[in-house]
C-alpha cells in the first residue's frame, strides 16, 4: 500500500465540558461517541467494560431486572451495534476484491492462500484457461448485498487450507450462495500453485 494513501483519522475527540459531568458513551446517530484522553481536566470518566449508561456507570449487578435499567441496556447495546451499519455506509472496503473481472472461472479465497491462487491463475493462463480471483479481506462486517452481486452467476472454486471450508460456509450464511467446488488442503502444509492448477483443471468440466 503506498504510504501517501494512508490517512490518520483519530475520530471524534471531546472538547471542554463546561463543568457538566462528561458522558463518555453519549447516544449518537452513528453509534460513535466522542472520547477523551486521561489527563484532560474536566472530562474525567470511567471507561467501563460491563454494560453501562451514557456516563460509564454500570447498569449490572444490583440494577439487573429493574425496568429503567433494562431499557438503558437495550439502548446502549443497540447504539454499539449501529456502528456496524455506520461502517458499511461510510466505507467501501467490506466487499471482496475481484482480480481479472472478465474471466471464465473464479477462485474464491482469503488470507495467505491468495498469493498461491494468483500464481495459479497465471499458470492457467499459459494453458489457455481464464481464471480470476475473488479474495476476502473482511468477513465481519461484510456488505452482504454487494458481495452477493459480485459472486452471483460466476463459476466459482473455493480454495482454502482447512477441512470444513470455513470461508465457503461464511459465504453461504451471508449470501445464500453455495460453492460446491472446493480445493481444500488440511495436512498443515502450505497449498501450492501447482496443486491448485491440477485440481482446478479437473473441476472445470463439472460446471
Amino acid at each position: 500500500m503506498p504510504l501517501d494513501s494512508i490517512n490518520i483519522n483519530r475520530g471524534k475527540i471531546a472538547e471542554k465540558n463546561n463543568g457538566e459531568r462528561f458522558k463518555r458513551y453519549s447516544y449518537s446517530e452513528d453509534g460513535v461517541s466522542p472520547r477523551a484522553f486521561p489527563g484532560t481536566p474536566g472530562l474525567e470518566h470511567i471507561a467501563a467494560s460491563d454494560e453501562h449508561d451514557e456516563y460509564g456507570d454500570l447498569v449490572s449487578d444490583a440494577l439487573s431486572g429493574i425496568g429503567k435499567y433494562v431499557e438503558v441496556r437495550k439502548k446502549m447495546h443497540g447504539k454499539r451495534m449501529s456502528k456496524i451499519e455506520s461502517m458499511l455506509k461510510n466505507e467501501s472496503i467490506f466487499v471482496p476484491k475481484v482480480r481479472d473481472e472478465n474471466s471464465d472461472y473464479f477462485f474464491v479465497c482469503f488470507g495467505s492462500t491468495t498469493d498461491q491462487v494468483i500464481e495459479a491463475t497465471e499458470m492457467l493462463k499459459s494453458r489457455g484457461k481464464k481464471f480470476g480471483v475473488i479474495s476476502f479481506n473482511y468477513l465481519m462486517p461484510l456488505d452482504k448485498e454487494k458481495t452477493k452481486k459480485i459472486l452471483k452467476g460466476k463459476k466459482l472454486i473455493d480454495v482454502e487450507c482447512n477441512f470444513t471450508a470455513q470461508l465457503a460456509q461464511v459465504i453461504m450464511a451471508n449470501t445464500g450462495i453455495e460453492i460446491p467446488n472446493r480445493i481444500l488442503r488440511y495436512d498443515g502444509e502450505v497449498i501450492t500453485s501447482a496443486e491448485i492448477v491440477e485440481s482446478a483443471l479437473g473441476m472445470i468440466d463439472k460446471f
Partner: protein, 299 residues
C-alpha cells in the same frame, strides 16, 4: 511516581470520591481501602484529572466507579496490561491498579509476574479476601489449605499463592502489605507506593464479611503486626524474603504488614528510548517523509 508535590495539612479541596454508591456489602473491607486511597491522593495533592484507576473484575474492581478521577474498568485479570498501556501512552499520569486477589493472583498471575519484572511506574493495590465474592464464594488462589468453600467442599488441597515472595522474586521494587482494618497505616503504604518510582505492590487484607467466615477482621487483627515496629530493614532482600515466609512458617499465626522490600532501579519508562522526548501522547506523529526514510533505512 512523577510530578507529585507533597503538601501538609488539608489544603486539598478536591473531592476524589464520586456519587456512585459502591456495590459492597455493609462492613466490606473494601470501604477501608477506598478511604485509604482517597487519603493518599489528598495528602499528595495530585490533580484529579491526572489520576487513572484501573480495575479488573470482581467486587473490589468496582473501586474506580466510586472515584471522580479517570478510571478504566477492564476485563478479568487484565489490570496490569491495561495499566501498563496507559502509563506508556502518557507517563505523566498517576496510574493505580485496584482489584482483588482472585483477579490479580489467579486469572492475572502471568501479567503480575511480568509487571514486576518490567518495573513500570504504577501502583497496584490488591484487595485480598481469599474468596471470589462477586460469584458468591469460591476459593481464591490465596485461600489456605483446608478451607471449605462452594468450589472446595472437602477443603482446598492446593498451596496458597505467596504474593509478597512472588513479587520480590519477580523484581518488584516496592512490596508492601496493608490491612483494611488499619486504614491510616494502609494509606501511608499507598502514599509511599504512589511516590515510589517503579512498580509498587500493596497487597491488602480486605476481609469479605459475607462469603468468608474464616479470614475475618478479627482473625486478621489477632495475627497482624507491623514490620516497622520491629525495625525491619526493607532494603535487605534476604530479610524481606525471610519476612515474606513468616505466614507460612508460623502456620498463619503471625502475619506481618508494612513495607517488606524497597529498592531503586530504572523504570521501564526510563529505559524505553521511545519515551526519551517525553510522554508519547505529546509527541507529534512523524511525517510521511520521516516514515519513508525510516522504512528505507531499516527494512
Amino acid at each position: 511516581m512523577s510530578q507529585v508535590v507533597e503538601k501538609t495539612g488539608s489544603e486539598m479541596k478536591v473531592n476524589y470520591g464520586s456519587k456512585t454508591k459502591p456495590i459492597w456489602c455493609p462492613g466490606c473491607g473494601d470501604f477501608g481501602v477506598q478511604a485509604s486511597i482517597i487519603k493518599a491522593l489528598k495528602d499528595l495533592q495530585i490533580e484529579k484529572s491526572n489520576v487513572v484507576l484501573v480495575s479488573g473484575i470482581g467486587c473490589s474492581s468496582a473501586m474506580p466507579h466510586t472515584f471522580s478521577t479517570y478510571g478504566l474498568h477492564s476485563l478479568h485479570g487484565r489490570i496490569l496490561p491495561v495499566a501498563t498501556g496507559i502509563k506508556l501512552a502518557n507517563n505523566s499520569l498517576t496510574v493505580i491498579g485496584t482489584g482483588g486477589d482472585g483477579d490479580g493472583y489467579g486469572i492475572g498471575s502471568g501479567h503480575f509476574v511480568h509487571a514486576c519484572r518490567r518495573n513500570v511506574d504504577i501502583t497496584y493495590i490488591v484487595m485480598t479476601n481469599e474468596t471470589y465474592g462477586l460469584t458468591t464464594g469460591q476459593a481464591a488462589p490465596t485461600a489456605l489449605v483446608g478451607t471449605k468453600t462452594k468450589s472446595t467442599p472437602f477443603g482446598v488441597i492446593e498451596q496458597p499463592i505467596n504474593p509478597i515472595a512472588l513479587a520480590i522474586s519477580a523484581g518488584a521494587t516496592y512490596v508492601a502489605r496493608g490491612f483494611s482494618g488499619d486504614p491510616v497505616h494502609l494509606s501511608e503504604l499507598i502514599k509511599n507506593g504512589i511516590k515510589h518510582k517503579g512498580f509498587a505492590l500493596i497487597d491488602t487484607f480486605s476481609p469479605c464479611v459475607t462469603f468468608n467466615h474464616t479470614n475475618t477482621f478479627d482473625w486478621f487483627r489477632r495475627r497482624v503486626y507491623k514490620l516497622e515496629e520491629e525495625g525491619h530493614d526493607s532494603s535487605d532482600i534476604s530479610r524481606a524474603f525471610d519476612k515474606s515466609m513468616e505466614d507460612f512458617k508460623s502456620n498463619y499465626e503471625k502475619m506481618p504488614i508494612g513495607l517488606f522490600y524497597k529498592t531503586e532501579r530504572p523504570t521501564y519508562e526510563d529505559l524505553d528510548i521511545s519515551l526519551k522526548d517525553g510522554p508519547l501522547l505529546n509527541q507529534p506523529l512523524p511525517g510521511k517523509e520521516e516514515i519513508k526514510k525510516a522504512i528505507e533505512e531499516n527494512i
